[in-house]
């Protein structure tokens, strides 16, 4: 062991330890001087884009406000708002009876509506399906596109994971709570389904309104007329697969939480809702 190489190693070692210490120092000594007003918003990943974009616009107006938005799912949102671990919970479904019983003070703020699109690959020749056909595909009755008016190709059924609020809604509204086919591929996000469908010619999936890049939304055949999922059709209920999106507070909101929710419900906030491809509830 030569002296030279030993000192080299020591240098490396000391440098490494310094880096580590710096990291720890970064962790501990990070107190900010001004105490901004701060709220946390958590819950449904479907509502997250609205909350996030509204946060950006709102913080631009109120420099001292700090709004922290995170996902986690509707159940997380309900629980966090109910237990007070977050100031605002986001939910893409209505409260369940046991949730209403457990957290009686929760106040729902209906901030937007979301439609669910049935999507296929752009190469697919199918343009519209009836709700029965959709159910048939998801419960495994139809396995080939030629059974529902398309060309010969196996249907790759794609859906959300079983804990998802979107799937729950889809299951109740479209499937009548019937079981999904067991070969359904599951993804834990709208984006995952969109990605899959855009890559796979035979795929069939359902997503929120914003996820249309690289995929083809199908029209719904309602009583013989084909209804396209346009904003107008969704708004007036002609396109039937839509659901309300909520922000939840424990009791009536106060302070920053109140101003934030009011902002989302204002004309400017509802424009953000529309720009993120959701259906505004006002104006």
């Amino acid at each position: 062991m030569t002296g030279k190489s030993l000192s080299g190693t020591t240098t490396v070692a000391v440098a490494g330890i310094l880096v580590v210490l710096l990291m720890m120092a970064g962790c501990l000594g990070n107190d900010q001087t001004a105490a901004p007003e701060r709220i946390t918003v958590t819950g449904s990943t479907t509502v997250l884009p609205i909350a996030e974009q509204a946060r950006e616009a709102f913080e631009a107006k109120e420099a001292s406000a700090e709004i922290m938005v995170s996902g986690g799912g509707s159940s997380v949102g309900v629980k966090a708002a109910g237990e007070g671990t977050a100031d605002i919970g986001m939910s893409s479904r209505d409260l369940k009876p046991e949730e209403t019983a457990g957290y009686p003070d929760l106040v729902k703020h209906h901030i937007a509506d979301d439609a669910i699109l049935l999507i296929v690959n752009p190469e697919n020749s199918v343009e519209s399906l009836t709700l029965d056909e959709v159910r048939g595909i998801y419960n495994g009755t139809y396995t080939n596109w030629n059974q529902v008016g398309g060309s010969e190709a196996q249907i790759v059924v794609v859906g959300r994971d079983s804990a998802s609020g979107t799937r729950e809604f889809f299951s109740e509204f479209v499937m009548d709570a019937e079981d999904f086919t067991r070969t359904q591929e599951e993804f834990n996000s709208n984006g995952g389904i969109q990605q899959k469908v855009s890559q796979t010619p035979g795929a069939f999936g359902y997503v929120g309104l914003g996820y249309t890049e690289g995929v083809k939304p199908l029209a719904l055949d309602v009583g013989g007329t084909s209804v396209r999922p346009t904003l107008q059709n969704i708004k007036d209920g002609t396109y039937p697969i839509s659901r309300p999106l909520y922000m939840l507070t424990n009791g009536e909101p106060e302070g920053l939480a109140q101003r934030y929710i009011e902002f989302i419900l204002s004309a400017e906030g509802q424009e953000i809702v529309a720009s993120e491809d959701y259906i505004p509830v006002r104006g």
């Binding site: 070692a13 922290m68 890559q199 796979t200």
Partner: protein, 647 residues
């Protein structure tokens, strides 16, 4: 090196002052104060060493606490052997059998792909490559281990599944095969480096003797070297299996997650769902306290037990071979060899291996002259290395080419805007540093203290054995299980909420075993004569450890710390339920706030945000760069360190 070992071994035999019982005898008279410090330090180290046991205990208790109810509800048999996993159906079903078969199938096929490639690469590095080539290929393969699993998943989701769909003309590319290919690439570095160590430690005389008898190099490798290293190689394979079975993020992004048993059973294009994947996709949105929630903890318990079984098998084999990777190992004595031979996994593996080598060598051995068969064999071996390096190349190329374009000053220093589609990832970069720094602050003192206690303070007792077993168990615990534990214990039970501190502790526990092991190794490589000299001069135990033993062990400890940083920085599963949030304009100002982190940001960008492909590649690029820099540092430190110890 070998000398150090033998001296140590002798010390052990002659009752070196190691535990309190014998330490007073034969030690020079020392001041009462120094003796007090000595005792206090000993006690302190002992407490630290217990931390591993406590952690394992808590993990098991908290998983069982939330998981046992599912067994009460469905019955143990229906839970384990139920053929249907459908928690939200009209008649909810919680059978994990398809998930178990999915897990095992994905792992098995991954091993079929990874084992020949890894052993080929190991043989190539140890026996065939020139020193110059070796110094490039070895670190390159080790770099594969440094790529974060979410980056693999990203790569798999974008390229691999699509390639499988087109190349094999399947309706869908998300499949068992895709999962297995990814897992194989991820397991290859583990298997290769452990197997290479085993092959390199086969005594030189064996090889020389064989060559002297006129055998060709290939015959020597096949008949002498590989059989001699077989127990090490089998341990390598089992460690690789452990790595593969606990993987979450990459698998859930490419296997399709349909809870079915492939029909027919060997249909590699069928989608499958693994235990880890189920936790990864369903845990986030499940309603607390529901049957589904308990079922997911039940899944975690099943997963823990499977990895426990695999890791115990590995432990039996590695402890029987004695010595650990990275240090020269003494030739197993007759008794140990016999013990290895007696173990069932060894026998099964030998039988399988001999059958395989026999079958593989038959065409060469019988029909071809030795020189030609050597040429063919070396060609195949080189091919396996080429495939592994090509895989690394493709992944790096894809991410670097697409990611470099996204890198700009704003991307590196700005906050995300428009859901991450614009702006930068600065809070995620800093958040990753905070998480890793905190994890080290938790794990480094605990880990080093545990290792010092294990190596310097105790002889083998049932207690140390259980500490070691606990460390091994922690080491084999899948990262998603740490995530679940962190969620159940830190976030909910302790009431930390989703916070920086919950993530730091979870990650700290995850990297604790790596730090303990590498520190142990470093301490063991310090010759006993140094300690003897120090004691002879009248130093106390603690003085000896702090002034004589620890300083030269520092580079080894540092390597362990750096490797853990790499691992902690790239992990998604442990932080996705405990610490990470999707976006935040500011950096966290206290430990109770959640943070952004690079791996989670990448995961969300790729799976949730449409139209963020550029930013995904950019984030993947930054994450890759960060982790690979850390790994490269570890490799360099170790190379320096090895060169010295060899001298």
């Amino acid at each position: 090196m070998a000398k150090g070992f033998s001296i140590r071994a002798r010390c052990r035999n002659f009752g070196w002052p190691r535990d309190r019982g014998t330490s007073e005898i034969g030690r020079p008279v020392i001041g009462a104060e120094r003796r007090f410090v000595d005792r206090a330090v000993g006690k302190l180290l002992f407490c630290a060493a217990l931390a591993a046991i406590v952690a394992v205990f808590f993990i098991i208790v908290f998983l069982l606490r939330d998981g046992y109810q599912i067994v009460l509800e469905t019955g143990l048999w229906d839970f384990l052997a139920g053929a249907e996993w459908n928690p939200t159906g009209r008649n909810p079903a919680y059978g994990v059998f398809p998930l178990i078969t999915g897990t095992l199938q994905v792992m098995a096929l991954a091993m079929v792909i990874a084992v020949p490639l890894s052993i080929g690469s190991a043989v190539f590095i140890a026996e065939i490559a020139s020193p110059g080539m070796k110094s490039i290929i070895k670190p390159a393969i080790e770099l594969l281990a440094g790529i974060p699993s979410v980056v693999y998943g990203f790569f798999g989701l974008i390229l691999l599944t699509d390639w499988i769909r087109v190349a094999f003309d399947q309706p869908s590319g998300s499949s068992w095969l895709a999962g297995s290919i990814l897992l194989a690439i991820m397991a290859i570095p583990t298997i290769t480096s452990v197997a290479e160590d085993a092959i390199s430690s086969v005594p030189r005389e064996f090889k020389e003797g064989s060559l002297a008898l006129g055998a060709t190099h290939w015959q020597t490798i096949r008949r002498v070297i590989v059989p001699g290293a077989l127990s090490g190689i089998s341990a390598a394979i089992i460690l690789g299996m452990g790595r593969a079975i606990g993987e979450t993020m990459a698998v859930l992004m490419v296997t399709g997650n349909a809870a079915v048993i492939p029909d027919p059973i060997y249909d590699v294009f069928s989608p499958v769902r693994t235990l880890t994947g189920t936790l990864g996709i369903e845990m986030g949105e499940v309603a607390f306290g529901s049957t589904h929630y308990h079922a997911l903890f039940g899944v975690a318990v099943v997963l823990l037990f499977i990895t426990l079984a695999i890791n115990s098998a590995a432990r039996v084999i590695t402890t029987r071979i004695q010595g650990t990777q990275g240090t020269a190992r003494p030739i197993p004595s007759g008794r140990v060899t016999a013990a290895i031979r007696r173990s069932t996994p060894y026998r099964a593996l030998t039988a399988a291996a001999s059958r395989i080598t026999h079958a593989a060598s038959a065409p060469f051995g019988r029909l071809l002259p030795p020189r030609t068969s050597q040429r063919c064999a070396f060609l195949l071996i080189s091919l396996s290395v080429a495939i592994v390096i090509a895989a690394l190349g493709v992944i790096l190329f894809e991410i670097v080419v697409n990611g470099a374009g996204a890198i700009s000053w704003e991307f590196l220093t700005g906050s995300p805007r428009d859901l991450g589609r614009a702006g930068g990832i600065f809070p995620a970069i800093v958040g990753t540093f905070y998480l890793v720094g905190g994890a080290l602050a938790v794990a480094l003192p605990l880990g080093i203290a545990t290792a010092v206690y294990l190596v310097e303070y105790t002889a083998e007792t049932p207690l140390t054995r259980s500490i070691r077993a606990a460390v091994d168990l922690l080491n084999g615990t899948p990262s998603i299980v740490f995530g679940l534990f962190g969620f159940a214990f830190l976030v909910l039970f302790m009431g930390f909420g989703v916070s920086l501190i919950a993530g730091q502790i979870t990650l700290g526990l995850m990297i604790l075993p790596t730090i303990i092991r590498t520190t142990e190794e470093a301490l063991r490589s310090i010759p006993g004569s140094l300690r003897e000299g120090s004691y002879a001069l009248g130093a106390t135990k603690w003085q000896t450890i702090s002034r004589v033993v620890l300083p030269p062990a520092l580079p080894g400890i540092l390597t362990g710390a750096i490797l853990s940083i790499g691992r902690a920085a790239g992990e998604t599963a442990p932080i996705m339920f405990t610490a990470a949030i999707f976006s935040s304009r500011f950096l966290p100002s206290s430990l109770t706030e959640p943070v952004m982190a690079l791996p989670y940001h990448l995961f969300v960008l790729t799976t949730t945000v449409p139209g963020a492909a550029t930013q995904s590649y950019g984030t993947a690029f930054v994450l890759l760069l960060l982790v690979l820099t850390i790994y490269l540092a570890a490799i360099l430190v170790r190379r320096r360190y090895r060169r010295e110890t060899v001298m």
